[in-house]
Symmetry: C2
Subunit: 343 residues, 2 copies
DNA sequence: TTGTATGCGTTATCAC
DNA sequence: GTGATAACGCATACAA
């Protein structure tokens, strides 16, 4: 029931070489024979064995992607961007989830190696840089997404987190707020840290001295945003007028925590998020946020990777860092401070 | 830089057969030799070529999963369940997204075939049954997730959609509601249809005659839930007291649409969703919903598949249909009708 | 306990 | 324009 090139050859009355030529669209086959072969292939529903091909050519037409998980809008959309670009170019995807666990990341590497992927995209990986270096030394073309190069010679694609953090904070500042809470995400991630840096810089530029107690821990989940604010309120009461959360999910959690205490958004407290997730427009009130072009990041990363894979040039192109711009999406969760003062 | 079994053999001063034995953990190798070989493997960072292995054994230790996309909570969690179970059992994952497009589903089939996956899990596929049949005839072990067998001899895993729909509706009914809107999801999906059937049955059992205008179209997106209610309100005004949405996202969209018209949830209108998505507890008001065990579905499907793959038995086990139970999660978006009557 | 030889399904090299 | 054949890296039947 499983046909091989040999079967096709026999039935079409040609050599396997000819079949192979047809398969790969090479010239040097008469239109007539080509037709015949194609017919047999169609009839049999034959498809060539990828493993035999890979074994022979050491090219798999496959790219590996390592991603923490598939939860939340971010990774899902990034994957979509990667997948469609890959597919358009005839490449397939092998996905490895690592659940934010370094050991599993390492497993992915061996997996990719064994599968002979032509290249890999590492999304938000946290492993130390040795891990990335290892991959490079093993001759893999790779690109890092949502992660800094840390001095390594790799292509990277990331959101302009710093500027996004700056914009968000500046926006609140211009609205008249100065007591602005920041809920950070996983603090060991570059993206979270840079948003934080943007926050700090914006405050500094306005000459506002930063209060360390205004920086709350979160982990990018809605729950963590909720808990952070709930805890803060219990400890400090309402001594702030605005919140900048490092992503929308935490912002939504924060709004809920405020709501539970009878504090209204945006009348009492303005909130701004980061991502522009699907839910943002439907939150009550609709969430003002920094839009991150997630799918585009996936696309760009894939294009970078494929261009690298297909570069015959031995002295590979120098590493490229692309920074995807962000936009401020104004909705209703942040308003001027003057319009409240209800406390 | 790329090592083969031959390199390992030479350096360890043994035959490739011995290396192969070590690799596969077979007995019949002296502890001493095994050690030595293992050391060389470690040193070289050698990992066996999956393609050569697959070519030889026609076993890839890989399962393919075809899924519409990775957006929203549902697919993400299902994939997580599949992935962890697969990994635990030494299987790897090849993911194919089809964006709800039949043609791309078909492409996935060929992909799986070429990659010689040992089995496949098809999630929410919509292709006609021939497509599934084709896969079966080609000797693939497959299991369908979130899809009915439609008379085919395949394992399936699905949520108890009918009962879930029934429970949700009954719950509203018991709260005193009788004018209950239903927002359906993609109507060609089994899951959406069954939730609808549950809704109809519950109404019927209570002797309430169903109003066709009470059934609104949606596509499982938040936006579609929002639009559906907005449109309905414009056409009919507020002639209902409750809404059952076929998933949480649409429920959230619906709440927003009501809110925009100054209609309060749950005081004026009760809303119930389906899924128990991550966002459900953080919506304002927290969403009452039917919990779907997404990750478990992924786990079960994978276990089913692996057991089938590993069944030496030629006359394969008869098809199994597992229905994963649902739970009603009471939160605050649905309340008794008596406590309002504010209109 | 260890090794030799064959073949899996392709592509590539060379001949015709 | 077409075909025979070696090789890719591994697992395995068979020897030793």
């Amino acid at each position: 029931m499983k046909y091989t090139i040999k079967n096709v050859a026999k039935i079409a009355n040609v050599s396997i070489t000819t079949v192979s030529r047809v398969l790969n669209g090479e010239k040097g086959v008469s239109p007539k024979t080509r037709r015949r072969v194609l017919n047999v292939i169609e009839e049999l529903g034959y498809s060539p064995s990828a493993s035999a091909r890979t074994l022979k050519t050491s090219l798999s037409k496959t790219i590996g992607i390592a991603v923490p998980d598939t939860l939340g809008d971010f990774y899902g959309e990034v994957i979509n961007g990667i997948e469609s670009t890959a597919t358009e170019n005839g490449y397939n995807l092998i996905v490895s989830l690592n659940h934010h666990i370094i050991k599993e990341e390492l497993a992915a590497v061996n997996f990719f190696k064994a599968k002979k992927v032509d290249g890999a995209i590492l999304v938000t990986t946290l492993g130390d840089d040795d891990y990335v270096r290892f991959l490079i030394e093993n001759g893999f073309d790779i690109v890092l997404l949502d992660r800094d190069p840390h001095g390594l010679k790799v292509d990277t694609v990331k959101t302009d987190n710093f500027h996004g953090g700056y914009m968000a904070t500046e926006y609140l500042l211009n609205l008249g707020h100065s007591a602005i809470l920041f809920i950070q995400g996983l603090s060991y991630l570059d993206s979270s840290r840079e948003r934080f840096n943007g926050y700090k810089k914006a405050l500094k530029d306005k000459g506002i001295k930063r209060d360390d107690t205004f920086v709350l821990d979160g982990d990018f989940t809605t729950k963590s945003g909720y808990s952070a604010i709930k805890r803060y309120l219990k400890g400090h009461g309402l001594d702030f007028t605005a919140i900048f959360a490092a992503n929308d999910q935490m912002a939504i959690g924060a709004i809920k925590a405020l709501h539970d205490k009878g504090i209204s958004v945006p009348e009492d407290v303005s909130v701004i998020g980061f991502d522009d997730s699907y839910m943002a427009p439907y939150v009550i009130p609709p969430l003002t946020t920094i839009k991150q072009r997630r799918e585009e990041m996936g696309r760009v990363a894939t294009e970078l990777l494929l261009s690298r894979i297909n570069s015959r040039d031995e002295r590979k192109k120098t590493p490229r860092q692309v920074i995807v711009p962000v936009d401020l999406i104004e909705r209703e969760s942040a308003i001027p401070i003057s319009s409240k003062r209800r406390r």
